[in-house]
């Protein structure tokens, strides 16, 4: 459990992973999908995910620079966990305030 929690630790991390689940993204694309997230925090998260070997970073040639972030095999291994987070959230919502 600690390994999995460490993988998704940090605010916004799960949302970034979710976006990458549907395919590689550039830095700017991620910013567009997560507008309330500053560049610094997004860069922090991506560096963390890279160091955890969940995401790869690839600089594309040309100018202006483009960067491509993609999930690794380890990163894709998190998909069932994200699904479980979603399903659990739904279950909690359905049980909100009603029973014991």
């Amino acid at each position: 459990m600690e390994m999995a929690l460490a993988a998704i630790a940090g605010r916004w991390t799960t949302l970034i992973l979710r976006d990458l689940m549907s395919g590689p993204c550039s830095f700017g694309q991620l910013r567009q999908r997560l507008p309330s997230l500053s560049a610094k925090v997004l860069a922090d998260r991506l560096r963390e995910l890279e160091s955890r070997q969940l995401v790869t970073r690839e600089r594309l040639s040309g100018f202006p620079t483009r960067t491509r972030y993609a999930l690794t095999t380890r990163g894709r291994a998190l998909r069932p966990l994200l699904v479980s987070l979603y399903e659990t959230g739904t279950a909690l919502r359905d049980l909100a305030d009603l029973p014991r």
Copy 2:
């Protein structure tokens, strides 16, 4: 996903929930199972879990005082998530350092 993450937020929270999954516990029993956790932090977590309606607190009569913590229906709804955390952790361990 935010609902589920909010439910398990906080250090030690998942471990406390896991212990309660196997049945109600007293404060002291939880301390025994989580020796590296101070009384203050355990009390903090239990108050949070209570306010999130995931755990109930029941004071038993007699002296010295005993307290019984138990999961609510909402709390039990977290079981699949804890299982998924465990399985994902195992999967990450199996993929450690090896492939892309």
